[in-house]
């Protein structure tokens, strides 16, 4: 029999050939250019206006960061493509062999099923890499305008979308392998996506465990990366889900194994995945790669907070849908969690919207407690939280340092040439590529 390595390489080559004759992939490529174009052009215009272009007051956009002003909206086009286009490419790649009967031939090679799926996954990730040339073109254009690029934050955004693509591919692979027909797989994949949206909605209303679970859905995961934040627990949980998706696909691609046995193996896989995900969710490491330190307190504040040894408890009397709670979470709690691993936060509310709790005497109170000392404030700003914590802990607040403040990179230029690139050159290249590859193969 052939060596596994050479057989695997044959399989990878075959998957690549199958990909380049797949219309769904060319449609993805064709669509992602204009999608990125729309978001990039719009973002650059807004950024320019805020920076004083076209008669608006200069200085409004002084604190503008390209991460939030340009990369988050531009790369959001990748999220749209990952949700609505990439699943069909992946499903076609996985289910096509079953539909054509090729799987019956290939399955007779004693290669492990996970290797078969691995070959498909490699090619699909390469396909996503090629699709990512569209946002890469946006980066080149931005640089040509004289825009500032801070590599760590840009790499973080790209990593988030790569993980999201991996998650989408793994999910599509699993549904394509489990179901008999690609259309069923497509419905199932979109149902899971809609399910994560519902989970996010429930989390926004209910809070608690739902909120924690929703933190690992693709939209929440991508949002974190788009803010330049790499959370170890999110990365690990995503990788576990990706591995579980591909393993489930491998389990169900083994047609020669009884359905009952495959079902038992799937249940066992689900249990193992749940256990590993639970363990990974306890990881607390995180890295703020944003140039503006948008996810962190100032370095001086962080050094001061690290001197606090006692655990910090926070009791928040705000409903899940109260905007003040989201404000507090983003501006203070999330940053505190990154510096103080022993932060315990308890949310207290009788309703989900809080509208009818406003007259309640304690509603809106935020209690901080360190070493038995408690202090209440109603302000949701980072400054208020820090001031209260310094008072309670007895740690002297750092001296304010204006030099450390992020000043932003305003840029008042129009998106010159972007329309030609994304609406003209990109589609033309994709069409030419599709025709060339089709002629080359047949």
């Amino acid at each position: 029999m052939p060596s596994r390595r050479s057989a695997f390489l044959w399989l990878v080559r075959k998957e690549w050939r199958e990909l380049v004759v797949s219309r769904s992939w060319w449609v993805l490529l064709l669509a992602i250019g204009p999608l990125v174009g729309v978001t990039f052009i719009s973002a650059v215009r807004t950024y320019a206006e805020a920076s004083g272009f076209g008669g608006t007051s200069a200085g409004v956009g002084e604190a503008f960061s390209p991460l939030i002003g340009i990369w988050a909206p531009t790369f959001s086009a990748c999220e749209v493509a990952a949700v609505f286009l990439l699943p069909f490419v992946a499903i076609r790649q996985i289910a096509g062999d079953r539909q054509s009967g090729a799987l019956k031939i290939e399955l007779q090679h004693p290669m492990p099923a996970i290797a078969r799926i691995g070959a498909k996954a490699l090619v699909l990730l390469a396909a996503w890499g090629i699709a990512s040339l569209a946002p890469a073109a946006a980066v080149v254009l931005w640089k040509s305008y004289g825009g500032s690029i801070y590599a760590p934050e840009l790499a973080t955004v790209a990593l988030g979308h790569l993980l999201n693509a991996g998650l989408t591919i793994a999910l599509a692979a699993a549904t394509a392998a489990v179901t008999e027909h690609p259309s069923t797989a497509a419905i199932l994949t979109l149902s899971v996506t809609v399910g994560t949206w519902i989970l996010n909605f429930i989390a926004a209303v209910q809070g608690g465990i739902w909120e924690r679970a929703a933190g690992y859905t693709p939209p929440a995961m991508v949002a974190g990366f788009q803010h330049g934040l790499i959370r170890l627990d999110v990365v690990l949980v995503t990788l576990v889900f990706v591995a579980a998706g591909f393993t489930l696909a491998a389990v169900w691609l083994r047609l020669g194994v009884g359905v009952r046995r495959r079902a038992y193996e799937s249940v066992a896989l689900g249990a193992v995945t749940a256990a590993i995900v639970s363990a990974c969710s306890l990881a607390t490491g995180s890295w703020d790669t944003s140039e503006s330190r948008i996810n962190s307190f100032s370095e001086a504040d962080e050094e001061a907070l690290e001197r606090i040894q006692s655990p910090l408890s926070v009791e928040v009397h705000l409903a899940p849908e109260d905007p003040r709670r989201a404000d507090l979470d983003h501006k203070a709690i999330a940053k505190l969690r990154r510096v103080l691993p022993k932060v315990q936060v308890r949310y207290v509310s009788a309703t989900s919207i809080g509208l009818f709790e406003q007259t309640s005497p304690h509603y809106g109170e935020i209690w901080y407690e360190i070493a038995g000392r408690r202090e209440m404030t109603r302000a949701t700003t980072a400054e208020s939280a820090l001031q209260t914590i310094y008072q309670l802990s007895g740690v002297a607040p750092p001296v304010e340092n204006d030099d450390a403040t992020f000043r932003g990179h305003p840029l008042a230029v129009p998106p010159k040439g972007a329309a030609a690139v994304f609406y003209g050159i990109w589609p033309a290249l994709v069409v030419a590529g599709a025709v060339f590859m089709h002629r080359r193969q047949t």
Binding site: P2, A7, K14, S100, A102, Q108, G256
Partner: protein
């Protein structure tokens, strides 16, 4: 080569194969014959590892074969498939040769004997049924497995093509390759096969040469005398 012992396959409440037993001998052309719905394809898919068996075993030298051993022994060529429809026949042959480390030394001979050259660069999805059948047979013949199981190898072929394919299959058997062919056209089967397994209603009704099967038919109580005509033998035994 191997023995199939008491092979049983169920689809829910429907039993497709019931205690099917027979033997496959080295270098022979064995025909699996039976009417539509008799379980021929199910039997092949079970032996090819594409479907799981619910009972029975494939045995060699008195020992059940492991999945890996079975996969190294038997190559199953399914009927009615159009694998890699956008790829050319040339690529499909080279791909399967590479994937399975097949008989590259026989490539040109197989292409010539099955008359594949005229459509070697056509996409598989664009081929006629007969062309596709010949392309897939080429793939099967080039595989390194000692046993080739082909489901309906003459389906879609015209008279001349059927005759040429039968000659090719026989010549490969003469060279030591074992052929196990599922054929529903009994005339085709009688032209190419050395021995037969008769399958009807998911049960093996007989196994042997035409003479052995005729003798078996004649021994059935109340059965009309069946001469060496396979059709008559088949009707008498099923």
């Amino acid at each position: 080569m191997f023995e199939a012992r008491n092979l049983t396959k169920r689809y829910g409440r429907l039993t497709a194969l019931t205690d099917v037993s027979f033997s496959v001998r080295s270098g022979e052309v064995l025909g699996l014959i039976g009417p539509n719905g008799s379980g021929k394809t199910t039997l092949f898919e079970c032996l090819g590892g594409v479907l799981p068996l619910d009972g029975g075993a494939v045995v060699r030298d008195g020992r059940p074969l492991t999945d890996r051993e079975r996969a190294a022994t038997v190559f199953y060529l399914p009927d009615a498939i159009a694998p890699w429809p956008a790829q050319s026949v040339r690529w499909a042959i080279d791909y399967t040769l590479g994937l399975f480390n097949g008989r590259a030394d026989l490539r040109d001979e197989v292409i010539r004997r099955l008359d594949i050259q005229p459509f070697l660069d056509q996409a598989i999805g664009s081929l006629s049924k007969g062309q596709r059948k010949r392309a897939l047979l080429a793939i099967g013949l080039l595989m390194p497995h000692p046993v080739l199981m082909a489901d309906e190898p003459f389906d879609g072929l015209d008279l001349r093509q059927s005759r040429d394919v039968a000659q090719t299959l026989r010549s490969f058997a003469s060279a030591g390759r074992t052929m196990f062919l599922s054929i529903h056209q009994i005339k085709d089967a009688s032209r190419v096969c050395d021995r037969f397994v008769l399958l009807s209603g998911g049960r093996a009704r007989g196994e042997g040469t035409i003479r052995e099967l005729a003798a078996l038919a004649a021994s059935q109580p109340g059965a009309p005398a069946a001469d060496d005509d396979l059709e008559e033998v088949f009707l008498a035994l099923t």
